[in-house]
Amino acid sequence: MYSLKREAVRTHLYPARLPIPVLAEEFYKMVRQRGRSSEFWLVLRMALRSNPLMLLGMIRTGWDLIRTRRLNLRRERIRDTASLLPPAPTEVA
Amino acid sequence: MSEPFGPVRIGVYICHCGTNIAATVDVKALAEYADLLPNVVLSRDYKYMCSDPGQDLIRQDIRDRQLNRVVVASCSPHLHEHTFRTALKVGGLNPFYFHMVNIREQASWVHESRAQATRKAKDLVRAAVQRVAFHQPLERGRVAIQPDVLIVGGGIAGIHAALTLANAGKHVFLVEREATIGGHMAKFDKTFPTLDCAACILTPKMSAVRSHPNITLWTYSEVTKVDGYVGNYKATVLRHPRFIDESLCSGCLECIEACVYKQAKVNDDFNMGLSKRRPIYIPFPQAVPQVPVVDPETCIQFKSGKCKTTCIAACGDRHAINLHMEAKEEQIEVGTVILATGFQTFDARRAPYYGYGKYPNVYTALEVERLVNASGPTAGEVVLRDGRRPKAVGIVHCVGSRDENTNRWCSRVCCMYSLKLAHLVKEHTGAEIFNFYIDMRTPGKGFEEFYQKLLSERVHFIRGRVAEVTDWALDSSEEGNLVIRVEDTLAGFVRRIPVDMVVLATGLEPHADAPEVRRLFNISCASEGFFLERHPKLAPVNTFTDGIFLAGCCQGPKDIPDTVAQAGAAAAEALALIDAGYVETEPNTAHVDEERCCGCKTCISMCPYHAVAFVDEIHKSRVNEVLCKGCGTCVAACPSGAIRQNLFEDDQIFAEIEGVLSNA
């Protein structure tokens, strides 16, 4: 399942403007660098990269979240980002 | 047959078993290797040692080359040890101057590297050659066979076996746990593929059992203890009290009518709980014996002691009803046993995604068997629990079969009985019928034709494992219905099919208490829990315990024709033993070398069969070879090496151990 998805992402085997792989990539970058994901920034980056018009559709939800104080604008990160890198590659099937 | 004089002269025979062995073991190299071993006068390899020409080789070489020991490297001794020993005997040599090496099951079939398999085969052959030099001539003992037979389980298998043996003039004890014989078959309406009525073919056999002079029928009874060995089994049968004396009851059933319960209130197991019965009841009208049972769990007299006991009044001067009846133990001696304990159906609750027990209109196949049955709870009317007639019925195959999460095996009968039910339900209701199957399996006389017939009857067949049965409605068309969600693997998309009745084709599995029964009779179970036959092809009704045979679904799922055939086979095997009058026993018993016995009595406590006794006069132990079963535990325990076991002498095994290791 994931191997298929990975392969599709790697070889760009998906319709243009499909946000799913973009989300995956952005998420990957963010977590790889900062150790945590920040929903707001993640969605923002995804939208900008795939289809900015999406943002319009998101205004209402965004407002709801702000209204209910559920939108966290802080860009989270962990202290020990060094420890995030995966171990020295070992041959794995 | 006298011990040949002169030095040990061993002949070694390597079997190719076609390519079964030759493909992985270098048989030529092996034969050449064996030829150089001490005491080996000749070593041959041959395509099929077990074949007649193969055995002739041995016989001739014994004659022409004066062999006095023989080693055959081929398959498992469990398969052909007897064959080759006989060959020695015919060749004029004591059959126990023989040792067999298993280079098929335990070498060629389990190793990939030719080099390694061959090396291992060499070790084993070398060990056998060293061992066989120490073999002694032995005589087989004979045990007389008690002609009576015990048959456990009164389903169609037990019934058929019992009648076969009884007609051959043998006395049969038929023991059934339920209050009537008939088993699962008695619950069926019609049988596939011929659609002849189950009752019409079963009930005559049931009453034949009842009236047969050679059959002692004990229903409501269980075997609780078994001792002895082939030809001489001693069994204890516990007869639960049915509170009605079979010898006095005339089967008028007036007591049931007279019961103070005007409305039946107790779930009727025979009808799968689809109807009610009274505390005093008879499982079904054609039950054998025609004798009611009182169920103390629900009878007021048992609960409060304040019942008017109108049943007893109704019975009048027959006095057949005895509410103080107690369980009774019967001791019987039989020579052979046939196990026909049958199966249980898969509990559909173990597959919660099919909604059995949650949605009232999800039924098991056995429940529907009762619904379509003319003598069933609805007199053959197929109606839902709320009384409606179903308009669309979904039959889900492989519930508890071919499923990693429940039972992995195919239950063999579900496809066909599903077809049968599809036909019957359509016939009774005219409803749309959907079969959901993984594969249609219709191997059998007239089975495929029956499948074709159903197709022509416009029954729908959807190929795909059902994901779930739910009452989740997506739109009004589904409101109030059960929805079957399934991937139609032929059409290639997921479908939602609204029906108002779901039938779960539950699979067959071993009885929950099969393990206890297995221990009781000292036999084995296969990995899925069904009783293990001696050989899947060549000894399908035998077990590894001599004199105990299998019939019917206790050995594995099968339909009625196969069950009856197997029951006949089991009866024939029993007859063969009985009419031979005796069995030859393995001479692998223990005996005490009184010179060496120091009288420490260690061995006495070792023997579970009390075969080792202490003789006070000479202050030494002695083995009763009739009682000895030849396990050798006492031999291993004896501190002074005074007890020895034929065929497993210390020096023989030491030689074998050194043999396997001596090229280390």
Binding site: I20, G35, R36, R69, R70 | -
Partner: protein, 293 residues
């Protein structure tokens, strides 16, 4: 060995799912179950990370498990279903393929730490009886549908039965809340689809909401921040597109339990709900004279 449960919040509980964290802490406090948040925990990797680089995805969770072990926790609690699965899956895979763990020395941690979900912790470690005994408020709210989602129950089936989970129902009933039979309890909420392929995601949630209502539920109770968000955030949109007047409160099981066990209303993050606010206001107002049971 610390007796406290290691607490792995996960990113959502610091954002859209903050009400879950608030009510969870309140509930564990009421049940005197000590919690210790994992220091410097990192994102579990969820499913998106998995779909770029599986091995480093494992190393992410491995890091968290190692932190937990270093902190001496026997249990690591992950309230978010996605976090729970990511951690549990890593544990499982690294045990089955030790090669994966080579280098980051996580294997020891993998074996030492149990990954658990609060639902199962409360069900097994506290138990229905103690919940019954501890009930401090009568539930004046309506009947609810318990929604388990997929990642928590499948594939491991350790939190609850993988095909027919019932523990949330049992807990709520023990707390005097009546629940409805909800056939879609383990269907998917669409996860991130509501953000990526919006229509697909919303349709899934529409089906979930509609069926809950059809079964007579007046609210849906969840165990996962993403499930809660998806069901909660798009109801207005659904009302517009379909003619169905759905407006169901989407609660966390921790909110109801904590409330019934007597938590302060402020501690439950109830004001953070988007849908069904009216009903929530009615259900969660301390009755004039508290009915103690």
């Amino acid at each position: 060995m610390s007796s406290a449960y290691g607490y792995f919040p996960g990113c959502s509980l610091k954002g859209t799912g903050i009400a879950y964290e608030e009510s969870l802490l309140a509930l564990f406090h009421l049940l005197d179950l000590p919690l210790a948040e994992l220091d410097d925990w990192n994102c579990c990797g969820a499913t998106s990370y998995m779909s770029i680089d599986e091995r480093s995805a494992f190393s992410l969770s491995a890091r968290n498990l190692t932190l937990a072990q270093k902190a001496g926790h026997r249990d690591l609690m992950a309230p978010c279903s996605a976090c729970y699965l990511a951690l549990r899956k890593t544990q499982d895979y690294l045990q089955r393929y030790p090669k994966l763990a080579a280098g980051n020395g996580a294997l020891a941690a993998i074996r030492a730490v149990r990954v658990r979900h609060p639902l199962e912790i409360i069900y097994s470690d506290v138990g229905l009886d103690r919940i019954r005994k501890k009930v401090a408020r009568q539930w004046h709210g309506g009947r609810v549908a318990c929604y388990y989602g997929c990642q928590m129950v499948r594939p491991y089936g350790e939190v609850d039965c993988d095909t027919d989970p019932t523990r949330m129902d049992e807990l709520l009933r023990a707390a005097g809340v009546s629940t409805v039979e909800y056939p879609l309890k383990t269907k998917c909420c669409g996860g991130s689809l509501t953000g990526t392929t919006h229509e697909v995601g919303v349709r899934l949630n529409y089906i979930l909401l509609k069926e809950a209502a059809r079964k007579g539920a007046e609210a849906i109770v969840t165990v996962c921040p993403l499930c809660q968000y998806n069901l909660d955030a798009y109801q207005a949109e659904i009302r517009r597109s379909s003619k169905d007047p759905v407006d169901l409160p989407i609660l966390y099981f921790t909110q109801i339990l904590a409330w019934v066990l007597g938590a302060e209303i402020e501690s439950l993050g109830l004001t953070r709900a988007i849908a069904g606010r009216k009903r929530i206001a009615q259900w969660f107002k301390p009755a004039e004279r508290e009915a103690y049971v």
